[in-house]
Symmetry: C2
Subunit: 336 residues, 2 copies
DNA sequence: TTGAAAGCGCTAACAG
DNA sequence: CTGTTAGCGCTTTCAA
């Protein structure tokens, strides 16, 4: 691995000139031929700047971490792609982290930043990461942007227009003629879950309807949990004819539970989910969803983080463009 | 962020003593009280060793990259967990990389190692990464271990017992009474796909049967592609009564295609897939699979890589323990 | 237009 | 048992 001084020697210049040329330092004025000699030497020796040397000198690593509860969730494919593209454009390296158990996870995170391996984080909170734990992280000098989650003390976040998404899902059901629409939502503690419920409520209200507590469950997004919620709602004496499920993975679980309990979809009950992923086309029936622009969340979160590293103030963004889009498949139909 | 010299000053010792105590250098012999003073100072100042300084000095980063075609594939959850556990145990940081387009991807990889950001890679080849491209990577000083893929010039790999897995899947079908068993396999260029086909052939042979080319497709693991293969096989004049699908994601696609063409599973045809993932329990019918120990692949790959970094010779491992295990769900039944 | 030199934080060889 | 010191590769101020 060639070093800078080898390049300099080969080009017959000092290391400082070599450094400035290779970094495209705009304030430097070198003779074109000197410049060319340096460039040529770098090419000849296939030079890459040593990362540790640079990081040590500059006291920043030019690396960012994207930390999500479970990177193998297909939903994150888009988020990752967006974050990755943005990082690349800004010449940052993106590391993907994971934190099954967040209490332990946060320590890994803390280390990552304290040791200087990364300059900042894009983090998706899990519902069990308390505001306090988050504050501790931030207090620890961590530059951080939250995605698909927020904290009361706003300090950088990018979320989707969950209200619009849930509203669109609900309106779709309403337009099909449903009047008894239930909600399988996220946990109450979640800001995002509350926003989705709000969209649901707004759509109902605009149709002259009201939320009915017996048709609402707030247990979370895990497939098994949503499955339980679906079974429970449908066993109500007079249950809904349609269900908004606040997350596509939950909806997949719900579909299975409904079938197992002999409830036909969409014959007996229609189901629409928020968020889209490839599996939704392979459930039975294929699942109608509201696709949200997760790519853009990843992209903008990284840009925001980099801006903040450069001194910009923390900002809280709601990505409303492109807007949520209905992906019509076969799990919704007019009421029986 | 406290530095080593701050710790040393606070403890009233030199940096070298502080360094050695903090690193648990076994050759150092310090007075217990000196030692304790250093430890206390580190606690007081909440010290973490700066990563760049250490990496520069030691010329290694103590970081590893796990690079897979698409980290959001649920199949990789186990692989990641295993790799992550092994890294943690050895005090390495694990970075997850991704490479949608490998030709570009390999450049990212090259940079990662050339810049010294990571000491080595655990890499899953995509089928379109040529042996030559791989050699280039390795030639570039990259310490690398392949997972779920290999290269003719063996230089470190960990794979599953694909032969046993495919054999188990096929035998399950055979034991149900099927005599006409087809295969939806991977692409021919893939070593792993060949091994799975071999398991299939061995099981057939042991039952006195022979592979029949009209019942075999070798198009790859993508859901759409396997879907096409399924439709095509079942439209053969006298088609099989059972199908081994060499990958669970492909099987999910196949199930959808079969249903769309009016083929009943398992009524008309049984389906068993290799590998397991949560979604398999949520297809219709729930998919019978052969679960393979992907966790162990991740775990052993990282250990192997770390051993190699320490000078051990490259090794090629087949993980046969725990053995493949049949997960019986509802997509298989006796032939019609 | 170019070069010399300091120093980022750390480890380890060597000296006391 | 502990301290001094060189130097990893890089950027940048300052001087020429």
């Amino acid at each position: 691995m060639a070093t800078l001084s080898e390049i300099a020697a080969r080009a017959g210049v000092s290391v400082s000139v070599a450094s400035r040329v290779l970094n495209g330092d705009p304030t430097v004025r070198t003779r074109p031929e000197t410049r060319e000699r340096v460039l040529q030497a770098a090419r000849d020796l296939d030079y890459s700047a040593n990362y540790a040397g640079r990081a040590l000198r500059l006291a920043r690593s030019k690396a960012l971490a994207l930390v999500v509860p479970n990177p193998s969730n297909p939903l994150f494919a888009d988020l990752l792609a967006g974050a990755s593209d943005a990082s690349g454009e800004c010449d940052y390296t993106l590391l993907v982290g994971h934190s099954q158990h967040f209490t332990e996870g946060s320590d890994v995170i803390r280390r990552l930043v304290r040791e200087g391996r990364v300059d900042g984080f894009v983090l998706q909170r899990t519902d069990d990461l308390t505001d306090q734990a988050l504050e501790n992280l931030v207090a620890n000098d961590a530059r951080i942007v939250l995605v698909a989650s927020r904290t009361p003390r706003r300090r950088g976040s990018v979320i989707l227009d969950d209200v619009a998404g849930a509203r669109l899902a609900t309106e779709h059901l309403l337009s099909l003629g449903h009047r008894r629409v239930g909600l399988i939502g996220g946990v109450e503690a979640s800001d995002i879950a509350r926003r989705r419920e709000q969209g649901y409520v707004v759509a109902l209200r605009d149709a002259g309807l009201r939320r009915r507590e017996t048709w609402v469950r707030r247990l979370g997004y895990a497939p098994e949990v949503a499955a339980e919620a679906a079974t429970s709602i449908m066993s109500e004496p007079s249950g809904p004819t349609a269900l908004v499920v606040a997350n596509v993975n939950g909806a997949i679980g719900a579909l299975t539970a409904l079938r197992q309990t002999g409830v036909e979809v969409p014959g007996d009950v229609s189901v629409v989910a928020i968020h889209d992923q490839w599996m939704a086309a392979h459930t039975w029936p294929p699942l109608t969803t509201v696709k949200m622009a997760f790519y853009d969340v990843g992209y903008r979160a990284v840009r925001l983080l980099i801006d903040q590293l450069a001194g910009a103030p923390a900002d809280d963004i709601v990505v409303g463009d492109p807007p949520p889009r209905l992906v019509l498949r076969a799990s919704t139909a007019p009421p029986p």
